[in-house]
Amino acid sequence: MERVHRGLSDREAGRTAVLEPASALATARAGVWRRRLTSRAAAPYWQAAPLALVFAFFFVLPLVVMVVVSFWRYNEYSITPALVGDNYVSVFSGCVAELPSLCLTFKTYLSTLKFCVLAWALTLLLGFTVAYFLAFHVRSLTAQMALFLVCTIPFWTSNVIRMISWVPLLGRNGLVNGFLITAGLTREPQTWLLFSDFSVVLAFVHLYTMFMIVPIFNSMSRIDRALLEAARDAGASGWQALWNVVVPLSKPGIVIGSIFVVTMVMGDYVTIGVMGGQQIASIGKVIQVQLSYLQFPLAAANAVVLLAAVLMVIAAMTRLVDVRKEL
């Protein structure tokens, strides 16, 4: 569309130029050609170049380096170029032999899977509810934007601080335990509240629900309100309209939010580290520890396996929706 408009205006410019003296026409033509060569054709390329270069040097190349290094050898002092599968063998050491009991890698992935499922289900439920409220029950656009902003502001503040802020609430002498004891619900302070699976999942929900709200709200605000009216007129109950109209039309947002949450949980080590009291395993943590011992090839092999797992999850999820169409 854009191009068609441009073409037309160029042609119009040409038509008016015909009326002018020949020299002016020649200058105009030369100008047009110069513009075509310098700006029209080439412009998008140099405009996209900085972005492309940043991603090439700081994203694509590092991933290539990582894959290459995962096949290298290492000892305590150095890493040496090679093409061996040793690192992958040690990532999965004992995984087949020890079956049915699980090796460390499988156990870690299983624990990560558990966090993924819990965080995904809870953020989806909460995010969908909040987005639904904002999109369909808040009537004024100003109020909608203001409340939406209230939900997103914490996203611009530090995750680590948002994690730490649970400590005075959930700790042994925290507010929640204080309340439970005063209310006579428990005698001893509950220790499962903090530095536990519970606090890890709680922090994930706290940090990542925003990533569900934004895309789902985006999908919902595109839903034609007449469809809901039609559903009601056709005799659908509120729940039926929600399930058969709103949910299917929100699917793109749901999928995008789910991809965000699941991949962030899969690669996380900061949240699991801080909220798990550095006691709960995660792939990210394993990689980080290996890096601190300078076992780069081993860490790289672990990272490649993690990346493969993440890509498989994304591939499965994008089967459900064309992500690009939604932007």
Binding site: E2, F55, H137, P154, I161
Partner: protein
């Protein structure tokens, strides 16, 4: 507006209210606790109210040079902010006209958003290590002994650190630019061109006023995402170049007094100041734009 709300509204409003409490409540508790009296601990009750922990924070946190980290994070955040705005704007223009390979660049940007930060961080860390080795080998081959001795690493806040942060902020900037350019009516620019404006004049007097509020939004993302970034920086910074979030992550396991809350409050104050300034600027620019029409 006179018609009655359905009962579902009240239930959903209650859920929303609780969600907001869930979002902000914990943050509020550490702000309150950072004003804990000198004898107070990490939890309630408050032992008086004082600015003791802020004063003690001001003096530094033992072995950790927190103010150096503060300065590094601030400078890095500002650099990331400026670069994110400029690069996203240029790329937004490029994508609008279309170019060969645009979908490849687009999917790379999306991938950069989704690939776990620890993986990107590891890649950059190892890449710069190999780069250092290559530089040293090259210097040795050229017989630059003095250089080889003094050279430590090419990794640092404004090389590997900056790059790592940009891989995180640029996808957001690009997605915002997409949304912005989707909404701009191309006829404004055509009108400017028909009136004889140069491409620069068209940008300066037509496009820029239209997109200025969104550029503020991109700047907000650029700064705050960098300011709070921990996972991507973890392996990608030189030694002793830790940013504030990294020091903070380390402190969670070692600090046993409210100093950490004072630090949290100080950091969050910076974040909120930036958010507030951005929102005010956004509103001012949007209003000016509305008046201009």
């Amino acid at each position: 507006m006179g018609d009655r709300r359905p009962p579902a509204f009240y239930a959903l409003a209650a859920v929303f209210g609780l969600f907001v409490l869930f979002l902000y409540g914990p943050m509020l508790t550490i702000v309150v606790l950072s004003f804990q009296g000198p004898t107070g601990g990490l939890t309630f009750p408050m032992h008086g109210v004082s600015t003791h922990w802020f004063v003690s924070l001001w003096g530094g946190l033992g072995v950790v040079d927190i103010w150096a980290a503060f300065g590094r994070s601030l400078r890095l955040g500002l650099a990331v902010m400026v670069l994110t705005v400029v690069i996203s704007l240029l790329a937004g223009y490029a994508f609008r006209r279309g170019f060969r390979g645009s979908s490849l660049v687009f999917y790379t940007a999306v991938a950069s958003l989704i690939v776990p930060s620890i993986i990107v961080s590891l890649g950059i860390g190892v890449q710069f290590r190999l780069l250092d080795a290559a530089i040293k080998a090259a210097a040795e081959a050229l017989g630059l002994a003095a250089f080889t001795e003094s050279f430590a690493t090419s990794a640092g806040t404004f090389t590997s650190g900056l790059g790592a942060h940009l891989t995180w902020t640029l996808p957001f900037g690009l997605l915002i630019m997409f949304a912005v350019f989707n909404r701009i009516d191309g006829r404004y620019e055509e009108a400017a061109r028909d009136l004889g404006a140069t491409p620069w004049q068209t940008f300066r007097h037509v496009v820029l006023p239209l997109i200025a509020p969104s550029l503020v939004g991109i700047a907000l993302f650029g700064f705050t995402l960098s300011w709070d970034e921990a996972a991507r920086s973890s392996q990608a910074l030189g030694s002793d170049q830790n940013t504030l979030p990294l020091e903070l992550t380390g402190l969670t396991t070692t600090v046993t007094n409210p100093e950490i809350y004072a630090l949290g409050t100080a950091t969050t104050t910076v974040s909120f100041a930036v958010i507030l300034v951005s929102l005010l600027l956004f509103r001012t620019l949007s209003r000016r734009q509305a008046r201009g029409r």
